[in-house]
Structures are given as structure tokens and as C-alpha cells.
Amino acid sequence: MRNLAVSYNETPVLQDVSLRIRGGCITALIGRSGCGKSTFLQCLNRLIEENGAAVSGSILFEGREILSPHLDLCALRRQVGMVFQAPSPFEMSIFDNVAYGLRLHERLTRRELRRRVEKELRRVGLLEEIGDRMSANARCLSGGQQQRLCIARALALSPRVLLLDEPTAALDPVSTVQVERLLRGLVPHVTVVIVTHNLAQAKRIAQQIVFFGRGTVLQIGDAGLLDGIGAEAALREYLEYA
């Protein structure tokens, strides 16, 4: 992206953000609360516009300008999936949750649909846990299971990019490890961009680190930045609190 800027009611939230996210790897967005990480993330699938934000600048995805007013948002969001901080299963069965996106975008037979749903549930490690309870309401699952279900729902559409906004913030350590393992397994086929306050997590899984501060990108680098290698003053100060 180039010169990306976001504002709400003329109050700037992000200013002059220019960076390149490496394809096929995990990029962690770190920084203090309120510095614009989640806002930046939601620019990548233009979900930020649902909040009434004004976005300017340029974001290129596979050579296409995604901030163009003529862009098919549904097609973009199919390719750029998103998982939110709080698990948000729909008020429907586990099967229907994962099948939701597939039914929207593809014409599949029942058998093919079932096969795809089972594939995604197996991928996130849920199929063995839920067994034959696929028709049970998704809200009966635990928090960690719900979050993995949301990831399965997003992955069902085979997105090129997966955006995750603090996906493990509300999870226990075991579920966190399961999600991290899942994300590591996605690369290099899927580009993952994750917002996290957990620097240890970023160190464990990320290959690229983007440090946000004061509504802009302060530093970009590889995972070595989190050990202070090449970290500038602002990032060093942030790391001291970690």
C-alpha cells in the first residue's frame, strides 16, 4: 500500500502508511492500543468503510487497486478472509456456519459441500472433537472451538489472504497453541496478517513484523526486530514493556 490514510469524521486515525506485505508468510502487526492496527487490517478487505471511515491512498492486491469504487467487494472479501477477536459463530449449526460462505459463492452438490466442510473442520482440528455433532448449534462450542470454527469458515473459501484481529486474545493457552499451529500450517499457500499484542506469539509465528505507532508505520522488519535487533527507539521503548 501507498500513502494510505483513514479518518473518521475528519479525525485522522491512520496517516501516510506505505508498506509491502510479504506474500506467503505471516505478518504480525504490533503496537500500542489505538495506534491503528485493526483499522489498517480492515482496510485490506474494505470492511473499514462499514464503520463510516474515509479511506484514501492506494492498496494493490495482485496488481489490482482495491480502493477503486468499481471493485466488486464481495469478490475481494472472498479472497481476503477475516477472523475477528471475539469468536462470532452464526446462530446456526456448525455445518451451516462453515458452509455459509460456500453456499454464497459456489454451486456445490450436497456431497461436495459436506466434503468441503469436513475438510475445513479437519484442518482446524474440530472434526475429531465434534464427531457427529455437526448439526448442533455452533454456540454450544467452547470459546476456543468457536474461534477455530470461525477460522474454518473463513478458510472454506480458500482465500489468498487471511486477516486475523487478535484471534487468540480471548482464548486459553491450549487453544492459542492450536490456533498458532494452524496458522503456521497455512503458509506459504495463504498470506496471513495478524494483529497481536502478544509479542511472544509474534516471535513464534511471524516472519514479518510491522510496528505501528501514532497512526502510522514506524518500523518494518523481520522477526529479529522483536529481540531488539535493528529496532529503533520507539520500538525499543515498546519492547521494554513487553
Partner: protein
């Protein structure tokens, strides 16, 4: 000191609560006692007519108003036009305080006159639907706000068009709220009288099927007023007891889900 104050408060609450409960039980007892037995066989078709009118009109009013209220609630939730939103909320607040007789006059003029429906159950249902709108909009909007918009945003993030996201994801989630709002609205309509006297009228409906909606027909509450004015107190109290039973049934159903 605090314990003494708490005991005093409890000491005051008990007689107040007992008095209110006692009054309600007393009213109910009096209504049942005065409900006539001597004219039941003659009055039964009359009550049956009014009960059917009440049920039909109530169902029609709820079916008309609920979808409008839901989509109005969704618009209030999703809109970015703050000025329009504020205007609509002020208007709805004002309309919620308008006496039902005024709705009756408006319904009589618009649906009965302009739409040429005259005195009919349909005119009554449309008027009642208008009457219900402010309350049901606020109920559903509040429920949608409490649900949060995470599920809706998740659906949008999967590439769902907004309409499909609202109908496919938000609507099922709001199911409980819609169910409760429906029965609350039904209770309100069933007990309504002023607006329905001016729109549905006080006639005896004779038509069957959907043609019944085009005829004037008294509901139980309107029939109750009519009976009192004609000096038939037994019939009035009987209608009152039936209304109480209907209200109790609707209340039980609203908690049933």
C-alpha cells in the same frame, strides 16, 4: 444503621406489593363473579365472533408491523446518516406518546377514507400496525444493538451482500427478540379499543375467510365498551375475562421460547 434502613425498606415494600397484588386479584375475582351465566348460550356466538375478530386483527397487525419494525431497526443500526437517524428517533419517540384515539382518527381518514376500506378489520389492522410501529422499532433496535454487529461483520467479511447478511445472519440471531416483540405487540393490539372503534367499527362480522377483513367487526375490547354503554354489564365483564385469559395466554407464549 444500614441494616435498620434495609429492614425498614423491606417492611414498607411488603405491604405495597401485597396491596397491588390484592387489587389485581380483587379485580379479577370481581370480573369473574360478574361475568354472566344466564345469557351464555345467546352470547356465545357473539363472543366467538369478537374473539375471532380479535385474533385475526391482532395477527394481521403484528404481521404488517413486525417486518417494517425489524428493517427499520436494522437501518437505525447500520446507517451512517446521523442526522436522519436522529430525526427518525425523535419522530418515533413523539409517535410513541400519541394517544391511540388519534391513531384511530388518522387510520379512519387514511385507510378508511383515502384507501376506501371504510370500517373494516383491515382498516383496524393497518391502523394498529401503525400504532405498534414506534414501540416495536425501539424494542428491536435495542435488541439488535445488544446483539452487537460482530456476526453481521463476519458475514460481510465472507463476501455476503448486505441484504443476505441481514436476512441470513442477523435475522436468525434476532429471532428471540422478534418472538418477544411479536407477543408484546399482540397483547397491545388485543387490548386496544379507542383506535379500533374508529377503524374496525362495532359491527357483527358475518363473512368467512379473507373477506372477513373487509367487513366491520368489533373486537373483544370494543365489544366490552359497547356492552357497558348499552347497560349489559354481565356481557362486558365476560368479555373482560376473555381478554384477561387472552392476555395471560399471550404472556405465557412470549416466555415460551
Amino acid at each position: 444503621m444500614r441494616r435498620r434502613k434495609a429492614s425498614l425498606l423491606l417492611f414498607l415494600c411488603i405491604p405495597v406489593a401485597a396491596s397491588v397484588l390484592g387489587m389485581q386479584i380483587g379485580l379479577l375475582w370481581e370480573a369473574v363473579r360478574r361475568a354472566g351465566h344466564s345469557s351464555w348460550s345467546a352470547a356465545l356466538p357473539h363472543f366467538w365472533n369478537q374473539t375471532v375478530n380479535t385474533l385475526l386483527l391482532t395477527c394481521a397487525a403484528v404481521i404488517i408491523s413486525l417486518p417494517l419494525a425489524f428493517f427499520c431497526g436494522v437501518w437505525l443500526l447500520r446507517t451512517r446518516h446521523k442526522r436522519c437517524k436522529r430525526m427518525l428517533l425523535h419522530m418515533l419517540s413523539a409517535l410513541a406518546g400519541v394517544p391511540s384515539a388519534v391513531y384511530g382518527l388518522f387510520g379512519y381518514l387514511l385507510f378508511g377514507g383515502v384507501c376506501a376500506l371504510g370500517y373494516s378489520l383491515l382498516t383496524g389492522a393497518l391502523t394498529a400496525a401503525l400504532l405498534l410501529l414506534p414501540t416495536t422499532v425501539f424494542l428491536l433496535w435495542d435488541a439488535l444493538r445488544r446483539l452487537g454487529d460482530t456476526s453481521l461483520r463476519s458475514a460481510l467479511a465472507l463476501g455476503a451482500p448486505e441484504g443476505r447478511a441481514v436476512c441470513g445472519v442477523l435475522l436468525p440471531q434476532a429471532g428471540h427478540a422478534i418472538y418477544t416483540a411479536a407477543f408484546l405487540a399482540a397483547s397491545r393490539v388485543a387490548a386496544e379499543s379507542a383506535a379500533l372503534i374508529l377503524t374496525a367499527g362495532i359491527g357483527e362480522t358475518s363473512a368467512r375467510g379473507l373477506r372477513r377483513f373487509l367487513q366491520s367487526g368489533a373486537t373483544l375490547s370494543v365489544g366490552m365498551f359497547q356492552s357497558i354503554l348499552e347497560g349489559e354489564t354481565e356481557l362486558a365483564f365476560s368479555a373482560g375475562v376473555l381478554l384477561l385469559l387472552l392476555a395471560a395466554l399471550l404472556d405465557a407464549l412470549s416466555h415460551g421460547r
